[in-house]
Subunit: 338 residues, 2 copies
């Protein structure tokens, strides 16, 4: 029992199916906790990891990094969690706590931060282990069933709002209304911004308005985007496909910033002159620190921001993964234990 | 006399030589001033304009937008200048004063700001006319003979230091030690930063250290740049040629910013992932507002920051222009009247 046996769902080869796996979480470190998993969201990066798309997968892989659950056990050094506390765990399950990123509260940028599903078994399981300081409290007002996607998708779109200084007076456009985008629109609308949703889907246009967008623009209509020249203080791109970035860049006001949160492997063949002449910026952002996750959850609770999810039982995880692969979920999928 | 005749040096066709031209500055507007030109720096963009490289040149073109002189005449509405005041004029000689950029103190980003040498005769002349609010006072401590290049090159490298929040605790690298770079190193060193100069010239290495750089790196040594991974909070690129930007991007720390102030017409084929994973930014900056020019001049005066110049008499302007064309000046060329 001291090695904390658990049962999870593991993939054993690139593109493989999830199969039941019993494994030991290992001895509990002094600053670690074990979480009883209640819910776990499915993120596109779980698929990328299953397929070893980034070349960093270690098999057997237990995916899942949008964990909602309850503290089961705490290490001797952990003072701020007690068994039964409602908590969440996202992309990282530990940090070095010593580098300048960690010391300055940017643990998500720590070069040796430990991803929850790289060389570590994730949340498609009964239990998951993590460093206590990577785990966050789920505050009042958050619906636990749908909260999982906040832990990765949510903080991914919330972080740039904080890091790049989006103001409630700003005009902000979100490119792509999917798992990330539907949360970005909700956050920005609650933040007080004038929000535009770029989407090519008629259905999503209507839905974007229901999430709080004030305007929509067709992301496949170059003329419409051209007419929006000098319109936005910020653009947040959640897509993982190549678009005509120079066209979007021109839709930024002078001093505007375009932030990429969607992983784009193609080079961004941007013109330098629109950056220079308009004092514009292009930036990137990845997940968020524990402090930002706390802020994000408190803000979401206060403003009733909630991922739209489709729930599957953990026993139907393979089916759920296939559903995510089709890109059709509205807007995220969550696996539920029991 | 009411139309204010003056004599300048004009180019009449792309790539042409400077020839004497007598012209009228026109009636003096209520908020305008006329400046008696004492000195005028030569900037690479004067050459670009002579050659109509940007397709916006109107001939006859009187170049010159790094003007140092004395107020000759002020319009009836001008209260803060008097004849005889030492002043400077840079890239812009007027703004709309009504747009949100102007109203928020970012006049240099005004879409209809009037460049001093586009459809307007510049500083290679006895006199030049400008809106009073585009003209700045030259404070005590500034050497007038060498001050011209501060008006364009100087503010071009000073502006990003302010706009992008460079802190005295930051490590900053300057790419290219030329007219812009030799001023960037001086400003950043006086700002309190740890400064690295990227240059491929052995002579310039030594000179960069004399300008206040703490370190130098060979800009043509990919291995050296690779070894500098995660080193800099800011990179300021002053070059107008294409480098391996991804290599430089990797030399930024997490949350670092690379600012382009040199005009690069080639696309910046940057990878998105180094931006995203390190929460890095790429930005541009162009000249600066009158308020920033004031700050820059006061800072330069307080810290004995001075462009290194070679002086030519206005009568040898063609020779001086050819010297700039060779790229050999150390580090800027200034024309002197009388």
């Amino acid at each position: 029992m001291s090695l904390n046996n658990t049962i999870g769902l593991a993939v054993n080869e690139p593109g493989g199916s999830l199969e039941s796996l019993t494994y030991e979480l290992g001895a509990l470190g002094v600053n670690e906790v074990i979480i009883d998993v209640d819910y776990c969201g499915i993120c596109h990066s779980d698929l990328s990891m299953v397929d070893n798309q980034w070349g960093i997968t270690q098999y057997p892989l237990v995916p899942g990094h949008e964990v909602i659950g309850k503290i089961a056990t705490v290490g001797d050094g952990v003072k701020h969690f007690s068994p039964g506390d409602s908590v969440g765990l996202g992309w990282h399950c530990g940090y070095c706590n010593e580098c300048s990123c960690c010391k300055s509260g940017h643990q998500n940028l720590c070069a040796v931060a430990r991803p929850t599903i790289v060389g570590h078994h994730g949340g498609f399981a009964d239990k998951v282990k993590a460093d206590a300081n990577s785990v966050v409290v789920i505050p009042e007002g958050i619906d636990l069933k749908s909260a999982g996607p906040l832990m990765c998708a949510g903080v991914t779109v919330f972080n740039p709002i904080v890091q790049f200084g989006v103001a409630p007076t700003d005009r902000v456009a979100v490119i792509g209304i999917g798992g990330l985008g539907h949360l970005a629109v909700q956050f920005l609308s609650a933040w007080g911004c004038e929000v535009t949703a770029f989407t090519s889907s008629e259905t999503k246009k209507t839905e974007a308005l229901s999430f709080g967008a004030h305007h929509t623009l067709n992301s496949r209509d170059p003329e419409a985007i051209e007419q929006a020249a000098n319109s936005f203080d910020y653009l947040i791109s959640t897509v993982n496909v190549k678009l005509d970035w120079n066209l979007y860049l021109n839709s930024l006001k002078p001093r505007g910033t375009m932030v990429f949160v969607g992983a784009t492997l193609d080079p961004l063949d941007l013109g330098g002159m629109p950056l220079i002449m308009g004092q514009r910026s292009i930036a990137g952002s990845t997940v968020g620190s524990p402090a930002i996750m706390d802020q994000m959850l408190q803000f979401a609770g206060r403003h009733q921001i909630r991922p739209l999810i489709e729930q599957f039982p953990m026993s139907k995880a393979n089916e759920a993964m296939e559903h995510v692969r089709t890109g059709k979920p509205k807007y995220r999928v969550v696996l539920a234990n029991n």
